[in-house]
Structures are given as C-alpha cells and as structure tokens.
C-alpha cells in the first residue's frame, strides 16, 4: 500500500464496551508501525486526547448505555467523515443490552439497594458526576448514522487489519469467511 499524501486522522473510543475491541486492535502487533505510516491518532484511549477534532475515520466500540455515550457518539459523528462500528456491542448492543428487557429502576434497586451482602444504608448512586443511564442499551446505528460495521466479539486483529487497510486504500472493506464472525 502506498502512503497517502497526508496521514489520515483516526479517532477511536469505547462507549458501553469492555475495551476488548481496542485490545484486539493491538493484536495487529507490529503492523501498527506500518499503520502509523498511514494514519495518526486523534481522540483515542491510545493518545488520551479528550475531544475529537476533524477526522477522516472514527472507530466506535460499545453500544450506547448512558447520556455521556450519546454526547461522545455525536461528537464523533460531527467530526468524522467515516464512522465505523467495531464489535458486537456497537453493532447490536451486545452483552450490556441483555438488560434491555428489564426495568432500569428495578435493576438499580436490586444491584445497589435490595440484593444481599450490601453495606448497610446502600443506595442507588446519585452523584451529579455520573452520567445518567438510559432506559435501554442502544446499538450505535440507532443513534447516529454509521457508515461501516465490523462485527465480532471482538473481531480478530487480522479482521481489523484487513478492514482498516481496505478502508484506507479506498476499497469497500471485505472480510473472508473466517474473519466474519459475530462471536
């Protein structure tokens, strides 16, 4: 692959995810050096930049479970030309969305108030610093427009590499059968 005229700017974030997709991203191993010839990172857990500037590519791990996730996702959509959902949770809510058939208050009551073994006087946390949880956990395409999806829990380093190199080269990303999995 030839290096583009300028490096593509890439932002990444994890919303209601477990950072597994980011870990899997690092499984591209030494290929990250090759990647860094082609891209530079903007906001990402890898740079610790707190807000997303104008980017060519945004990569989102995790679904949307609270108000902060909505803000971050909208910031990415506003700044990134292409937005990619990476991993099962971004694609369909994943494990966190398995709470979706339960009432949010019932869950919080049970976890912080009524379940056995809690310290006396335990209450549902109510610190203004804490982002408010949403009624459900939403796949990110239900909140903003998403351009590409890379499923997997997590997608393998090879799948991520293939996907990114296709995108960077201006091709529609294509996964082989073995790279394509939802688990």
């Amino acid at each position: 692959m030839n290096a583009p005229a300028r490096k593509l700017r890439v932002a990444t974030t994890s919303l209601a995810g477990c950072f597994g997709c980011h870990m899997s991203f690092l499984d591209i191993d030494e290929r990250i050096l090759k990647l860094l010839e082609l891209i530079e990172f903007d906001r990402s857990p890898l740079t610790d930049i707190k807000h997303c500037g104008p980017c060519d590519l945004g990569i989102i791990e995790g679904g949307v479970c609270n108000a902060e996730n909505v803000h971050v996702l909208r910031e990415f959509r506003a700044n990134c030309k292409i937005l990619v959902a990476i991993g099962a949770c971004a694609v369909n809510g994943g494990l966190p969305a398995q709470r979706n058939h339960l009432d949010l208050r019932d869950i919080l009551e049970e976890v912080y108030h009524t379940s056995p073994g809690l310290a006396p006087g335990s209450q549902i946390p109510n610190d203004p610093e804490l982002p408010l949880p949403l009624d459900k956990v939403y796949p990110i395409h239900e909140v903003v427009k998403i351009d590409y999806f890379l499923p997997g829990c997590p997608p393998s380093g090879d799948a991520i590499w293939k996907f990114l190199t296709d995108l960077i080269a201006g091709r529609t990303p294509h996964l082989s059968h073995e790279m394509m999995h939802y688990d």
């Binding site: 395409h141 999806f149 059968h177 688990d183």
Partner: protein, 246 residues
C-alpha cells in the same frame, strides 16, 4: 424413477438441473448440489414456506423455492444481487425481532441463521432492535429453552408431532405476538415427556432447544460453520430418515 435419457431439466441461474416429477425447486436443487438458502425447510418435512429465505425468481416472479413444484424448462434466478439483498434484509429482520447475542449463545458457530448471515455478508442488523422480553424455560432437567432466539420455523413442532409423536411444541398467537409454546398444563418443558433423544432436540436451526451442560464444549475454530460456509455444506439429513417417517 425416470431413466437418465428421459430425465427432464429446468434452469437455475442458467445451469441445467435435473428433477424428478413432484419435486420442488428446493428438493431438486439440493439433490443436484445447488444450494438455495433456507431456514424453515428440512428435507424430512413438508415445506412450511414461512421464512422466505429461499425466495427465487421464477420466470421473473418471486416465489419460495421450497414450496414451488418444478416444471420442465422453468427458468429460476437465485444467486442474483437483487435476491441476495432481499435475503439479507429478511435475515436482518429476524435478528432484530428476537434477541440474538451470539457471543453468549451456545449455538454460535453451529447456527444456520448466523451461518446464512455470514454467507450473505450481513455486517449489521441494520434495523432498530425490538429487544423483546422472552423468559427462558429451564425447568427440564436436561434441556434448556431459550425463546429469545426462536424464528418460528416450526421445525420442532413438526419433529415433535410427526416423528417423536409427543406434540411438545406449538405456535400460539398471531403476527408480531406469535410465539412458541410448550404443550403442558403448566406450559413448562419440565412437565412434558420431552427427552434429549427426540428428533425435536436436533432440528432447531438456531439456539432455542439446547442440551444442558454441553454448551461451548467445541472450541471456536472447530465448530460447524467456522471455516466452511453453509453454502458449501448443506446436507441436512440423510434421505434414509426420510423413508422411516413416511
């Protein structure tokens, strides 16, 4: 049985496919090694025609190939971009209608719905999710029912009624409220005579009817559809079984 030189043919995507009188397009195609995607079809049972995954175009008009009797000279389109798009849409609707969290599903890697989605390049469920509330039934000592993944194909209903002769399952309700029920007074599987050797145990294309304590035994990479796409390994059941149940 017609002899070779009397055998009539029809066309699937421009290719000659032989057929026996009375066969459906699906049966003739599978016999000839031509894969047409399907979920509710099983060679051992009467076609159900509900999932629509097997939709083809016959002389330009859409039809379900599992219910369509072949006629000589028929021209069938199957693997066209248009039909693949439609099939992918049907899959996406099936995914958002239930709760399909593949990473925590014991059927993952062996699931036909998932395998078809891989084959048709379904990168996302596209639609908004319903996230329905469908409690599981763990009352049977050896069998778990996870209704979250039911696609209402009625294969378990057919197997339990026609082969096992137990009528453990039925569909109830209409439209979006349609759901699978268990035929016992309590409505629980634990109160039926279902056993793990029943055919109803093995026909579910998705991860609803599961044997307890064997989940995730096969490592990722060695499961049925991990390396070979479903379109390249579609022998559903030996025809010998077919004979027994006639």
């Amino acid at each position: 049985m017609s002899r070779m030189n009397e055998q009539q043919v029809f066309l699937i995507d421009g290719r000659d496919v032989p057929f026996a009188p009375g066969q459906t397009v699906m049966q003739a195609a599978l016999d000839a090694g031509v894969y047409i995607p399907h979920l509710c079809f099983h060679p051992q049972f009467k076609p159900h025609g509900s999932c629509k995954l097997c939709t083809v175009k016959v002389n330009g008009r859409p039809a379900t190939s599992c219910t369509l009797p072949v006629a000589a000279g028929m021209e069938i389109e199957s693997e066209t971009a248009e039909l693949k798009d439609k099939r992918r849409m049907l899959l996406q609707m099936l995914f958002v209608e239930g709760n399909h969290f593949c990473p925590s599903c014991e059927k993952s890697g062996n699931c036909k719905l998932q395998a078809l989605a891989y084959d048709l390049g379904m990168m996302s469920p596209h639609y908004d999710h319903f996230f329905p509330d469908r409690p599981v039934d763990a009352t049977h000592p050896e069998i778990l029912l996870d209704f979250n993944r039911c696609i209402l194909c009625e294969l378990c209903v057919r197997a339990s009624g026609e082969v096992d002769r137990k009528n453990v399952f039925a569909l109830s309700g209409r439209g979006i409220t349609k759901h699978l029920i268990v035929n016992s007074e309590s409505g629980r599987l634990g109160d039926t005579d279902m056993s793990t050797t029943d055919m109803a145990m093995s026909v579910c294309p998705v991860g609803v009817i599961l044997k307890k304590r064997v989940g995730f035994a096969v490592p990722v990479g060695q499961r049925k559809y991990d390396t070979i796409p479903i379109s390249e390994q579609f022998g559903d059941a030996p025809n010998a079984v077919l004979e027994q149940t006639r």
